[in-house]
Structures are given as C-alpha cells and as structure tokens.
Symmetry: C2
Subunit: 599 residues, 2 copies
C-alpha cells in the first residue's frame, strides 16, 4: 500500500542512525532469533496493510453508535484487533515470565509506527490497552496481574486510561472522583470520567479501566490521588468475567478525527460504587501514571510522525502521477503538461513534509532507544544518561511531531489542491486525525511548562547539560565533513543561544515564576527545532559517510536525506533566531495582556 514507512527508511533509522542490531547482543535478548527484527517489521507491515488499512476510511465515515448502553463499532475493528492480538503484538515487549517475547522496545515502536500509519483510529484500542497493561505490569499486585494481565495480552480484554473529568481538563490535581475503602481491601469508586478513548466497544468481553481517584479523606491536590484498576466486568478466580461492575457508558463524544476510536463519558458508581483495586501506593496515582507516561508520550509523537509520513507519501505519489500546468520557462500553450512534482513549489511542500516526517520519526525512535537503554543497557552510567536525556526530551518528543505533523498534513492537502479537500483522498482524514495529537496526553502548553519548569531544572540542570553535550558531539563530528561544516556551525550557534536563553529563564524563575513561564510553549517549540536539527544532522552524517564509502550505493536515497537536512536547517532552524531573541527579552506582550483588552 502507499503511505507506510518504507523498508528502506526503517532500515536507515533503525540500523544506520541507531544501532538497533546491537541490542540483541544484550543479555535480555539472547533468546531472540537472529531475524526477529526484520521478521517483526515484516509481520507488522503485512498486517497493517492487509487488515488495518482497508477500513481506515470506513471507520471514519461510520462513527461508533450508542446502542443499548454499549458503543458499537464497525466489525472490521474486531477483526483487526484479533489479528493484532493473535500476531502477539499486544504483549511482544513483555517479559517472558509474563507471557511476552521480550521484543526490544525500539523495534516494537517501529512496528507500531507501521500500524499507526495504516489506521490510527483502529490502533487507538491496542495503544490504550498496551499502556494500561504496562501500568498493571509495573505496579499491580501479583493477584491483580494473575486475574487481568493474561487477558490483556491475548486480546480478550482491552484497557483504558481514565484521567480527565468533565470539570477539570488538563489540571489533573483537581479531579473529584473518589474511592471508598471496603473491608475486603477493595474500593468502591465513584465519579465521572470524560474523553476516555476506547472506554467502551463491542469487540472484547472485558475492559480494564485505569482510574485516577482520591481515597476518601485524602488531601487536596496531586498528592491525594491514587490509581485504581476498575474492570468493566469482575472476574472469577480463573480470570473469567462473571459479574458486571458498576461502570456505565454515559455518552459518546463526536470528534473531528480518530472516529473509529470511541471517545466516551464513563460513569463509575451510579449504582453505589464500582469495585476497584488499588494499583501501587495510595497517593502515588499521578506519580505512577507519569512513570509510565514517557512511553505513552513517545507513542503520541510516533503517531504524529506516522501520520505526517503517510501524508508525505500519499501526496508524493499524487504529485508523481498527476500532470498539470507547465514550468515558468515553458509556457507554450498546447505543449505537454508537466507532473506536479516538477513544479518548484510542490517540491518545496514535499521536501518540507519529508523533513518534518522523517525528522519526527528519527526523534521518536531515538527516544525509544533511550527508553531501551535506560532499562537494558549493560553500563550503569549509560542507563542513567539515557534516563536523563529521555526525561528532558519527552515533552519535545510528544509535542514537536504533533505540531509539525499538523503542518505537514496541511501541506499534503495543498499538494492535492481541491482533491485533497475531499474524502476521495486520504490526506483530509490524516489532517483531521493529526489534530488530536497536540491535545491528548497533555496539551502542548502542559509540555512547555514541564520542559521549562521541571525537566531542564532536574538534577541541577544535568539533563540539559547532557543534551547540549551530545548535540555538540554531533556538531564536532559534522565539522569534519566539509559539506556539513556550515550546518554544524549553524546548529552550534542556535544551541548556544538556546543555552543562554535557558539559563536566563531559569534565573527568572527565581524572581517571577509567572513571567518566566509565560512563553514556555514557545520555548518548547524552539527547543524542538534544536532537537530535530540535531537528529537531522545525525542523519546527514550517516548519509555523507555512506556516500563517501560507496558513491554508487543508494545515492538517490542518501541525497534525499541531505536535501531534507538542508531544507530543515535553512528554513526551520534559522527561524529560531528571532524567536530566541524574544525569549531572551522576556517578551511580556501576551503576559501583560489585560483580560478587558480582549474585545
């Protein structure tokens, strides 16, 4: 099918940019077959193309329906879910003793990218289930795991994350759902949750909800929140659903995109309290949730990158095929029309998409490799460094691909023109689906605050310093290649300004925290430019060295990488300068905007 990330591109990112093949030398992966990486990607590509992609448009055009208290989705969803589960993708990354195959994280994520690109809306269910299962794996009691985990791994049971409530939005500390302790150690959970993706559907027998709520009497704020497992159906000792829990589907939300993922309002405890089980420690609910959120946030970045890539590939295929107009230098009426790709502006729209999509993919797979290193690298310092870098980069990994994915998908529509605005072509659905990514798993502003107020301050700024140092390593290496010396100098220059701005904003946090954080979203954006510029410089280094080693091998592919790097540096990275100037000046325009002045 058109639009999935090509084999060549995944090979480049996994094996030339990242050293993914080396992973399977690590002790944890000794039992894996030599060809597990390629075999996994092949299986994912086949399933994504054959089972997920064909109903991408249908799921969009037939929204879930609320029938007899249940959400009903198109039947293709059930078939895709089963195929995904049967192929072992729900639990491939689990430990062997949990029933998994210990597949390395980076490869697992690359496989997910193929699925996301094929049908992000149907993938909502596995995505949420994998996240919920990871919470249970990390913090659940053995007994809870024995009851629910196996079914979440083989597809009998789906999972959700229940954070948001109707009255609170991004301010998780203010949630009102509460839990009343019972004599048997369980809880009765009461409250309403909103925007719960996959909160109900009609293709799994059971659904496990991971619910944030306050144990009665807990203190206000984030420290009073605990995490509960609340199943749709209670199960018996064999793990079989036996009794309906007090969880009701209160309504379906109708979204601009991701339509085949149900978005629900759930009522817990309308009949006296839904039975729930504490996960982890009381009052640690948000902490547990955040512990797992790095994964989910890399996941959102990867979704955004996959949609951007699909739009790039779809619009490229159209531009190669469609004849229209002539070049400015050859306007003779009646002369043959050229293909769209021959127009300079269309190439600009395609090259920008390539720069955004492949830059975002590179960033997200790099983040996955940090996640991998954090947990499985043999060297303790490397584990620690990976964890610190990932901490700093997570807000960027979540946000940059989402924002520039929207830009990329906008450009894909523009390449197709009027056709791109109709549902005859996939690009308009991609545009709508993409728009969720700057919102879910924390709206963009939340990540700006996370980066500026928390992440770059952690460990006395050691994470930020480490980031700057690894970027400079790449800059140094690039300086050795004549063709990349200019790009290296540009990145170094932007990085140095970013360092200065970061230090100034950190100092300002001690004086006026509100002013210091006023432009945090802009800071996040420009930090992203540097991070993705760095990823692109690494890609360009690989390409330059490959061309030097053998100018005939894959030359067109590598030249494309070099062109995308140049485009990103000249048009996007250079744009960082005026932004950094405004940040350095503690721009107060929006900060000082009096509410009454909005008219």
């Amino acid at each position: 099918m058109t639009g999935l990330i090509t084999d060549r591109e995944l090979q480049f990112l996994l094996y030339e940019l990242l050293n993914t093949r080396e992973l399977i030398q690590r002790p944890r992966y000794q039992a894996l077959a030599d060809d597990v990486l390629d075999a996994t990607l092949d299986a994912a590509r086949r399933l994504a193309s054959e089972v997920f992609a064909p109903h991408y448009a249908k799921g969009d055009q037939h929204q879930p329906e609320f029938v007899d208290g249940t959400a009903r989705v198109i039947p293709e969803t059930a078939r895709a879910w089963s195929a995904f589960a049967e192929a072992g993708f729900l639990n491939a990354h689990w430990d062997e003793d949990e029933g998994g195959t210990q597949l390395p994280e980076t490869v697992f994520r690359a496989a997910m990218a193929l699925f996301f690109g094929s049908n992000v809306a149907t993938m909502g269910y596995p995505f949420l289930t994998i996240g919920a299962a990871n919470l249970l794996r990390a913090f659940g009691t053995p007994e809870l795991k024995s009851r629910y985990l196996e079914a979440m791994g083989d597809g009998r049971c789906a999972g959700t994350m229940c954070l948001t409530e109707p009255g609170q939005g991004s301010a998780l500390g203010d949630i009102k759902a509460y839990a009343v302790p019972q004599d048997d150690g369980s809880y009765r959970v009461v409250g309403q949750k909103m925007f719960i993706s996959g909160g109900d559907q009609n293709f799994t027998r059971n659904i496990v909800h991971m619910v944030l709520a306050r144990i009665q009497g807990a203190p206000a704020g984030a420290g009073g929140i605990s995490l509960f497992l609340v199943p749709k159906w209670l199960v018996d000792d064999t793990g079989s659903p036996c009794e309906r829990n007090d969880v009701a589907l209160a309504g379906l939300l109708h979204k601009m995109g991701w339509r085949n993922t149900t978005s629900t309002v759930l009522s817990f405890g309308e009949q006296g309290g839904a039975r729930g089980y504490l996960i982890g420690a009381p009052g640690q609910g948000l902490a547990h949730m955040f512990h797992m959120m790095n994964e989910a946030r890399i996941g959102v970045g990867l979704i955004a990158a996959s949609l951007a890539y699909r739009g790039y590939a779809e619009s490229l295929a159209y531009a190669r095929d469609r004849h229209q107009g002539r070049l400015p230098s050859s306007k003779t009426p009646g002369s043959p029309q050229v293909r769209l790709v021959e127009h300079a502006d269309v190439r600009r729209l395609l090259l920008a998409q390539k720069a955004y999509a492949e830059g975002a993919l590179g960033l997200c797979l790099y983040a996955s490799s940090l996640f991998e290193d954090q947990h499985t690298h043999q060297d303790a310092q490397r584990r620690q460094h990976a964890a610190m870098l990932l901490d700093v980069l997570t807000p960027v990994v979540k946000s940059w691909p989402a924002r520039y994915g929207c830009v990329a998908n906008d450009m894909a529509i523009q390449v197709l023109g009027g056709s791109g605005y109709t549902n005859e072509y996939t690009v308009e659905q991609l545009y709508r689906d993409q728009r969720l990514n700057p919102i879910h798993e924390g709206a963009e502003a939340i990540h700006g605050l996370d980066l500026l107020a928390r992440k770059i301050r952690l460990h006395d700024g050691a994470g930020l310093a480490l980031f700057c140092s690894v970027v400079r390593d790449t800059v140094e290496a690039a300086r050795q290649e004549a063709a990349l010396a200019g790009a290296a100098a540009l990145l170094e220059s932007v990085l140095t300004k970013l360092e200065g701005v970061s230090a100034a904003l950190l100092r300002m946090q001690g004086q006026d925290i509100d002013l210091a954080l006023a432009n945090a979203t802009v800071y996040l954006d420009v930090f992203g430019k540097v991070a993705v510029g760095w990823i692109w410089l690494q890609q360009a280094l690989v390409a330059t060295r490959a061309l030097a080693a053998d100018p005939a091998r894959d030359a067109a592919y590598y030249q494309g990488k070099l062109a995308a790097q140049r485009y990103f540096f000249d048009w996007d990275l250079r744009a960082a300068f005026p932004i950094l100037e405004r940040l350095a000046a503690f721009d107060r325009t929006a900060f000082d905007m009096n509410e009454e002045w909005f008219q």
Copy 2:
C-alpha cells in the same frame, strides 16, 4: 450570538481606520439615506444571527444528498437564501437602473463578513451568485441581462462559476470544454466541470452557470478560452424557465468542510450540447473572469478573516468562562482554580488570534475600499492609484487571511483542548471550513506566482513602488508617536529588505525564470507580513491618537489594539528577517531537489 464581528470592531475598521462615512458624499451615493451604513450592518447582523447561524452545525452534519438527479440540501438553506434575497443583499451593490440600491462596496463587504462568520457554508450560494451576476452585469449583452439578471437579483435564480475540469486543476489554460456555434448566435457547450460550488441544489428554480470553454477551432492556451452563460433552465421572453437545458449533475463531492455548499461535478452536453450564450468577446473568457476575480478574491480573504474572527471570539468566550488550573505562582492544592484566560499561554493563543483575525479583516476591508475608490473616487489619479494598489495586493488579500486563518482556527481549538476537538463546539467546524480558503479561487502557489511574476512587474513596478510609498507614509506618521517609533523602525527595516529582495528576484527573472519563481509562495507570505504589519501600524496609530485625545474613552478597546499590534510586530513581523535572507540568497534547496531523491 457569540462570534460575529462586534459592532465596535466594525465601527473601528469602517469609520476610524477607513473613512467609510465620507463615501456617501460621492455623487453615486447621493440618493442613499444618511443611516444606510449602520442600517445595512444592523440588518445583516440580525439576519446572520437569526437565520444563518442556527443551522451552521446542522448543515455540516447533514451533507447534501444526490436524489433523482438533483442535489438536496437541508430546508433551512432555502429559508436563509430567501431571507437574504428579500432583504436585498443579492443586489444591494447594483446600479439603480439594474434594480440595486448602489450600496458602497466597503459596507456591502462588511455586511458579508457578518454573514460569512455566521454560516459560511450556507453563504456559499449567495457568494457564488453575486460573483456570477457581476460577470453578467459587466460583460453580458442587454438581451442576456434582461433574461437572467433580475432573477439573480431577487433570488429566483442562483449562479455558479464553472472553471475547473477533472483533468486540469489550477492550469486553466488547459481546459477542454468546447462550444459549437449555432445559427441563432448561441452555442452548444460540451464538457465536464468539477468542484463546482452550488452547481446544483433544490431551492432555486433556476441556476445560471458561468462556464469557461473553447469555441471550436480556437487556439490552444488561455487565449482560446471564452466565457458562456449556460442556464440550468432555458427561459422564455418573460424570463420564466421553460425548458431544461442539457446540464446534468454527474455527482457530488464530499468535502472536509463547507458541507452545506454542494460541490458538484457537472456534465454539459451529454444529450448533444447545452445551450450557452457568449459573454463578452471570444477568446477573452479568462480575461473577463480575472477582471471580476479581484472581487471574488477579496471575498475569499474576507471569508477567511470572518472564520478567524469567529474562532477568536468563540475561544475567548470559553476562556473567560472556564475555570481550570492555577498560576505557576500559586499552586496550593485546593485553592480556587483560575479561568483559562488567566493563563499566559491561553492569552498568547487569544492575542495571536486577535492579531490575525483583526489584521486580516482590516486588510480585506481596506482592499474593498480600494475597489470602491477605483470605481467611484472623484479624483482620476486616486482612482488609478487605488487600482494599482489593489492589483498588487490582491494575491496577498486572498492568501494571507487564508493561511493565518488556518493558524488562528488551530489556536482556537487548542484553547478549548479536548472539547475543541469535538462537534459540541464550533471551533472544530471552523477549522475544517477554513481549510478550503488556501485552495479555492486559486491555490496559494498560484497567487505567489501572480504576485512575483506579474503584479510587482506591472507598469514597470509602479504598483510595488506605490505600495512601498504608502507604507512609508504610515511609518512616517508613526515615528511622530513616541510609543510607536520602535514599531515604525521595524516595519521600515523589513520593508527595505523586501524591496531589495523584490528587485533581486525581478532581475533573476531575466536570467533564470524558474529559479526566480521557485520560492514565490514564500515571497507571498513575507509580503503578507509586511502588508498586515502596515495595516496593524495604521490601527495602532488610530488607537494611539484616540487615547491621546481622550484617555478615558474606550481605553480597554484601544489598548487591545495596541497589544495586538505589538504581538504581531514582535512575533510575526520579526520572523520575516530569516525568510528574507533565504529569498535574497535565491535558496535552491527545494528547486534543486531531484525527483528521484524523494523516497
């Protein structure tokens, strides 16, 4: 209703920024009542709120259906159409002897902005009809006018523009529809047209299609194209429909937005040829169409501005109402939550929207005033200057509001977060509706080429020189106000660089036309920054002087104007510098991108 441009804002733009009241002193307007301006706007606001706005969402959710060869739309559309016609808005701007009231263009456009903001999809029908009628008025024979014009003015007959064909897209010179002369002076028109908005519906008895086609034997290219009036129903001598013409609805296109405007494929002449009547001179079809296109392009800019404004107003109302989270300086759990508008980043999103929406509105109404001056100013040189300025600015007026309207509507969604992604709130529909504006009436790239290859070269560059000179007049005036001196210097600096880049690109057109035009879309964007910066500096001048004259009168309103100007200058206008550098360097990155390198 929430979201329509406020009375205060229209007063500011029409009477404080532009001297619209002076218009009615002109001879053409002597018969108008003194209160015609306000009365027109009041009537438009009432109708827009009460008749158009209520079915904006319904029209989106119930797409037109293809039933028995006809497009069927929701019945509210017919009622809105009739009310619009009965209130005299279809022909208010026509000459008295055509049955109009000679309403000044600027006021007519301001009234349209209210309608566009209320329900752009239902407004598609009047918008197209007004454009088609203007073509008939300008170039039709007296006989054709006597048959069709009255019905297009009182609402019995709608109109369309039939340019695009399935195989040709933006390259109008390549259209294939043809017309065969008949003995009676009429033609038989044969061909297929695509993306025809309002091409069929079930609420007017007749539809007049303005069709581009080649008279058989005409030369290839743009010079061989003529314009024809092809009615859905032929009419008798009294103007009554009497015989179905050979025009068939071949299909409906399903669009991302504007869903209540039918988008059709029309087949002309499947039964031997649709009867058509030549409008204007043979071979002058495109020229005639372009002659009228300034109006339509101002119209698209105004639509984009109206949708941006509506998104601004809707998200502002939400942000004022909704309590969520706390400021960084007061994170005490359990303390009262603040409203969204109190968060700095939300204010940034609102202020940027205000800057884009009110900047775009100001630009479009200024362009309407140029159109007005071009036709009705007493002074011949002023008429000529207005025409030249409008020529240069038209691509910008069409494109800048469309591009930044998309950015603004994106921000409106972000203010609402998850709610903004659902159809419970209007902002998601605005986002989808807005996305058409960079495509129709010429995709953005077409306007970049128009500006750089044609408009700034016209009259030996006199139009561009005139633009630079009027911008400098404002810069000079702003220098006299201490608070605006910095902004004046910034605009002067960007303008000077733009002049240099323009001269360099014009010289390059003589050497390598393809390279010179390669980044034309980027040039258009940066030209737009200067034009809108100029409009904002004018608005800031008005506000500064008003505050100096009476610091107590409307101070909050004027402070809002000043803040929006500062925001635009600091964040958007400054961003022009790195772009201008790339243009000055004749950046070749996309231009040199080999097709094979896209992988």
